[in-house]
């Protein structure tokens, strides 16, 4: 049975962080499962948590009055759910819902922010990795915006 610390050592998002600090980070995390349809976070909530998906699929969506919930993206095992915990105003931007059973490690964002403030070396390493996730999501989103599969005008 893997501990949270084991999982941190394996996960790409924590790769640049020295093993000596893994315990520190593990202290902010706990196992958190979700059942089918359960919300991981809701748009507008305070963004104090983020999740590393261990198993399963999560759907990001946003509610548009008159159009209902619009699906934005699906995230799978190994991916991070929740980026708004990093920056003020620390507000959740999208609904995140479990599709089927989802197992995650939930991290206390406020706790980890505090530890990063006190340990800038670790903070910088973590920030680099999160920036990479954000960039790759942004690129993917931009690609989708181009609607490349559409018929030519």
């Amino acid at each position: 049975m893997k501990t949270i610390q084991d999982l941190i050592a394996e996960h790409a998002i924590f790769r640049d962080i020295e093993p000596s600090r893994h315990a520190l980070i593990a202290g902010c995390g706990r196992n958190r499962p979700f059942v089918n349809g359960e919300m991981l976070m809701k748009e507008g909530d305070d963004a104090n948590e983020f999740f590393v998906i261990r198993k399963g699929k999560v759907l990001l969506s946003i509610h548009v009055p008159g159009r209902g919930d619009l699906a934005v993206e699906t995230l799978d095992a190994g991916e991070i759910v929740g980026l708004s915990w990093l920056f003020p105003p620390y507000k959740v931007q999208f609904d995140a819902r479990a599709i089927g059973t989802v197992r995650t490690i939930a991290f206390d964002g406020a706790c980890l922010r505090g530890k990063c403030d006190r340990d800038p070396v670790m903070g910088y390493a973590l920030m680099k990795r999160f920036a990479q996730v954000m960039t790759s999501r942004l690129q993917a989103t931009r690609l989708r915006m181009l609607d490349v599969y559409a018929s030519a005008p």
């Binding site: 699929k57 699906t74 799978d76 993917a140 690609l143 599969y149 018929s151």
Partner: protein, 279 residues
Amino acid sequence: MQARLNVRADPTLPEFFRVRKRRRELADTWTLELEPGRPFGFLPGQFNMLYVFGVGEVPISISGDPANPEVLVHTVRAVGKTSQAICALRPGAMVGVRGPYGISWPMNEAAGGDVVVAAGGIGLAPLRSAIYHLMAQRERYGRVFLFCGGRSPELLLYSAEVRRWRSRFDIEVEVTVDSAASQWRGNLGVVTKLIARAGFEPSATTALVCGPEIMMRFAVTELVSRGVAPERVYVSMERNMKCAIGLCGHCQYGPQFICKDGPVFSYAKIERQFKVREL
């Protein structure tokens, strides 16, 4: 070695085949099954020039099963005058055919390793023959992955067939769409993500990629960054074509003629051209 077939006497003359069946795939996409009246041998990735009497001629890749040459299958998207005319043909109508032309997917070179097939939108049509081949000669290949990207779940090409492939135990099929309703339980995101996460062995993988050029660009970048050798990543390119036999000059892509040096190219061969805009 990728082979070419059927070098004919007068290459500007079409043969006329009857339309046997016509199936609507999507709002603007139809599949025609033609009766060549003889085995029309071809290799996966090759194309024919299809001629509608008095209208025009366009290159369309062959989408059928190479092991079943008695039927000639073409999936056509109605985007212009001639392709619209092709899509309007009913069973019994005659279609002019010249071909098959072009360099095929590297089915022999890919043997012995994993195969990643990445299809974007209508790009699945030129890849379907390769998929049939992979499944017919399954024992020659390692793990086989099929990633399909499309606009939305309703606009996935050959969706029933993709679902059937998905239910096989020996091919790993993942589908993703750019947009969907919130009831969609599948993947929502770009096809490059499927490539990033899949469990193929990069050092022993051949990738076959086809779709809008921009989708191919990003898919290729992802494959190469995962460690697949550029010589083993193959794309199918498209340019304006008139003669399909290397004489009219239209399909030039840098030094290559898409009609006879392609349409399938290893990425290593065209890497420089790929990066030049408006080439």
